[in-house]
């Protein structure tokens, strides 16, 4: 099972937990606005870490960690709204996969 699928299962299972039992279940309980705040925070951290990594290669692992945080919280949002990362991957596949439209055509 891919890590995306494993993570989906983890995120789904957190819906049955009490908010105090895990970080993810506490986010679900706090609601959409709280999850959106986290996405804004993590995106800002990606920008800061990306700026750092562009001038200092030793900061690249930290950037990977920040992107992981951003994707993780995106997945929490999707799951909270009964969507999933697979919907996003399907959308990317429609745009870029074999047989999908090319991004150049999409954007121009």
């Amino acid at each position: 099972m891919s890590i995306i699928d494993q993570l989906n299962e983890v995120l789904e299972s957190r819906k049955k937990q009490h908010p105090k039992e895990s970080y993810v279940s506490s986010l679900y309980a706090a609601g959409t606005d709280k999850i959106l705040q986290k996405i804004g925070e993590e995106a800002t951290e990606v920008v800061i870490a990306g700026k750092e990594a562009s001038s200092d290669p030793s900061a690249k692992p930290a950037l990977v960690g920040e992107v992981a945080d951003l994707w993780f919280h995106s997945m929490v949002l999707l799951c909270h709204l009964d969507l999933s990362a697979n919907d996003v991957l399907e959308e990317l596949n429609n745009r870029f996969g074999v047989g999908g439209h090319d991004e150049k055509a999409q954007r121009s």
Copy 2:
């Protein structure tokens, strides 16, 4: 091949193109700051679309599209800095995969 791997190939191939040949090659040419701006923009669109989708289920497909945009531009950033989505998936696997630490332990 997974869509992530296909997209990585597309993003790598764009490095050999002239900036005018595709949207991605124009982002590479514009540089890290421009790509980081796009990530900030797309994250804001996710927040707006997430707020909309939380009160109007018919806005959920639009949210999926915005998260796809955010992940896509994250991958452009990673590729521009000679990293890839696989580094992020590996990081998520270390945190959440079979044998990885639980997110509860990580965060608390």
Copy 3:
């Protein structure tokens, strides 16, 4: 008249214009989501410029310009929702002005 008051007058006057007549009236016509997108964009530019200015003092004037853009678009948002910068200044005065509460007490 302070620049804030002058700018308030400009922003109010733009409400009577056709969207094609000025940048601000085009933002009003596009609606709240568009104005919020601009705020997200400008905040990202402040983060990028602030990161730059922290390591390169010659980038400080650019940072001032980005903060000006952020405050300007905040004022467009306020005006669009029939609020104004004066409401924000009054709020800051309640928090920090002579006789207002100290920020330390507020935050802790």
Copy 4:
């Protein structure tokens, strides 16, 4: 003295304090990245509150509070880098004040 000037004085005075003495002095001690994170967070809160206020007028006071937070943290950033809100107001005056260029001309 205007609230902006009063707040500038407060922010300058915090530079002489120990990080534990006030919220602002703790931000200075934490450094530019931490202050930039706060700006990203507060901008996200403005977007969320603006979205709320656009459909529910009773949320307007909360929006004013979020814009105040955003401007306040922008001023902390400026002060940390030995700039001030007055530099921003001067920039806005150059763009929009009596005798300044019109925003329409600037943007188009």
